[in-house]
């Protein structure tokens, strides 16, 4: 119920932002917004995650702190990509990572971050939380490294720690 009400309010705010055109809203717009928000909120009840821990403000602060780092990595990824597109130097392969994350939210954050950062694209995930990552330029050091934690560091630097802080 709490999730539904939250989703309804959020939907209504987004509706108001979408229909705002410089002047005050008309009554018919607001009425339609309320009706559709309630419908959307009622549907959310079935599919929403029931984890109220992810609502804690500390996690939101971590998410905001994570964004600049993420954009820096993304810019780096694009220059790396530009280099590979122009020179055509690639050495692809699919590697397995065990970041040791438990819940779905943190794995989703990690997989999406991996896809947008240098040279990596997440392909599959299994039940144990292992990620299979397509890596466009496999470094030879990766095979010599035996420690699982250090293996992650070659592919996605400190992202597993960030995902753990935000998601768990």
């Amino acid at each position: 119920m709490l999730v539904s009400i939250g989703a309804t309010i959020l939907c209504f705010i987004i509706w108001l932002l979408f229909t705002f055109n410089g002047s005050i809203w008309q009554w018919d717009e607001i009425t339609a917004g309320i009706i559709f928000s309630i419908i959307a909120g009622a549907i959310t009840e079935k599919v929403a995650i029931k984890e109220y821990r992810s609502l804690s403000p500390k996690k939101w602060l971590y998410l905001i702190a994570y964004l600049p780092r993420f954009f820096y990595e993304m810019a780096k990824a694009n220059f790396d990509m530009a280099y590979r597109v122009i020179t055509g130097k690639i050495k692809p392969g699919i590697v397995k990572l065990s970041p040791g994350l438990k819940n779905n939210l943190s794995i989703t954050i990690l997989a999406n971050s991996i896809t947008l950062t240098p040279g990596t694209l997440s392909v599959d995930v299994d039940e144990a939380g292992n990620l299979y990552v397509h890596w466009i330029n496999v470094k030879p050091e990766f095979f010599e490294e035996k420690d699982i934690k250090c293996k992650c560091r070659y592919v996605c630097s400190t992202f597993p720690d960030w995902a753990r802080r935000i998601g768990e």
């Binding site: 979408f18 705002f20 055109n21 410089g22 597109v85 699919i94 590697v95 896809t115 694209l121 599959d124």
Partner: protein
């Protein structure tokens, strides 16, 4: 102000162009997805930022309806940022499940362990 908008637009178009060149040059579906995900996301963010800058500028100059342009572009930016990696992941997984092997691969740790 126009200079800022032109700069943002040209960065965005440059990276989108790079993505299309990458699509043509790379050998298989996974490496093409690399180009098609990262560069288009980054490029589209800059194009959306140019639209936001234009909308806010015109709004500041007195055209009150232009604020809706900026708001809509902002939501488009968030939607691109969330859905683009997810979609790429879905395509990559579907490609692997339907038997496309990565071309020129030096290692394939997924192949040995999955049988379905």
């Amino acid at each position: 102000m126009w200079e800022l908008i032109y700069a943002l637009l040209s960065i965005g178009i440059f990276f989108n162009l790079l993505a299309s060149v990458g699509l043509l040059r790379f050998p298989d579906v996974y490496t093409r997805l690399h180009a098609g995900t990262k560069c288009t996301t980054f490029g589209s963010i800059f194009i959306a930022l140019a639209v936001i800058a234009y909308g806010l500028w015109k709004w500041y100059e007195g055209d009150k309806t232009m604020i809706s342009l900026a708001i809509h572009a902002f939501f488009a930016l968030i939607a691109i940022l969330l859905t683009n990696p997810t979609g790429a992941h879905a395509i990559a997984r579907a490609a692997y499940r339907s038997g496309v092997k990565p071309a020129k691969a030096v290692i394939d740790e997924l192949g040995g362990e999955k049988n379905d």
